[in-house]
Amino acid sequence: MSDRYTLNKNLAQMLKGGVIMDVTNVEQAKIAEDAGAVAVMALERVPADIRKEGGVARMSDPKMIREIKEAVSIPVMAKARIGHFVEAQILQAIGIDYIDESEVLTPADYENHIDKSSFDIPFVCGARNLGEALRRIGEGASMIRTKGEAGTGDVSQAVRHMRTMQQDIRRVQAASQPELMHLAKEYAAPFDLIQYVHDNGKLPVVNFAAGGVATPADAALMLQLGSDGVFVGSGIFKSGDPKKRAKAIVEAATFYDDPEKLAVISEDLGEAMVGINCDALPEEEHLDKRGW
């Protein structure tokens, strides 16, 4: 394992217990930093708008990403399309801190993800279950997040993905040594990573929740389910009072296991994003099916 990969996993450890917020301009980035975000995700349209407007969603304008990088002192992340390694090369050249190879953008390759191990810059990738997480880690991802269902404000898919991952981990942990190769085959995951999960009972990288987190209670739910932190996409800047909501979600990530504090934190936040029930989405609009 290279030094660079270890350092990249280490940066994700520094983000734990924190909230990473989607921002589309300098003003929003400053609001996010001021509220206590541990990092910002710079993108042109939040997932809710990508959903609404349709069309091909691509990497954001490097100029806009650079402006956000200059405006804040916290780490800046940006999204590349699944498999689009040139977008990733460009983002690395800008010198941001993390790339999200994201199903929220339209995939560029329907078979292969980016070979992340050939980059110096760290990558976070979405996953719905243990096999998918370990395939991404095998390709060089140094951080994992649930896919959830971005841009809906419906946390149910993030819950499903986190619970599935935990169930898979418990199963691998409880298996006997001779059964591990079969599990590696079943999960379509690298054997050495299955072995790691068996020995340690957890992923070898930090695991955040993403996709549908819209309230402090949603954030606390994901942390109580075992996430190391949360990404909030459309949930903040599509709500009635972004400043208040951003602060409240940051507070909830610290006191996620204290219901009395959460009650106070959740008071008087104005309107949450309107949201879309995931069950009401036609099959082709499920972003979590992108990536393999």
């Binding site: 990249n8 924190g18 975000a37 541990v38 780490p75 801190d97 110096d120 760290p122």
Partner: protein, 190 residues
Amino acid sequence: MKKIGILGMQGAIEEHREKLRKLAGIEPVIVKTKEKIAEVDGLILPGGESTAMGRLLNYFNLTEPLKQSIEAGLPVWGTCAGMILLAKNIEDQDERYLSTMDITVKRNAYGSQLDSFSCEKEIPEISKDPLPLVFIRAPYITELGQKAQAVATVDGNIVCAKQDNMLVSSFHPELTDDAGFHEYFAEKFV
């Protein structure tokens, strides 16, 4: 049994707790409230994002009580973001946090994540063996006040310093397999 707290706002909290668990006679405690600050014999401010931790200390009205405890002698060790929380001066930034230690620090002093690095270094004050040092978007100290004293430098930059009951490091001993730095804090400060 001594209790060493880890400030539990955000960041590499578990990593410090794991290290402290391995030390004899030390009970690690996660500190999120004023009451807990009063209970501990020493406190670690972990790595993470200093702006986020600074905000959270304010949100939960912990900045003042913590500052007073440190000024009254509570042993404290700030790693990375923790160093920034303790500094009296921060370059290119007006905001201060606990502001108890006579140092000027430069945030993200090495650059972005692509400039994060690790190295090995002998720090005689801490341990006889060379220590692995991990720098993640790290700050360093650009100026020491009269009371502060440098403990280690890397490439001419001060990356570790002490002043009375306060210890700071730019690097992250909690991310390595070495417990030397945690032992040093527990024995010499707490």
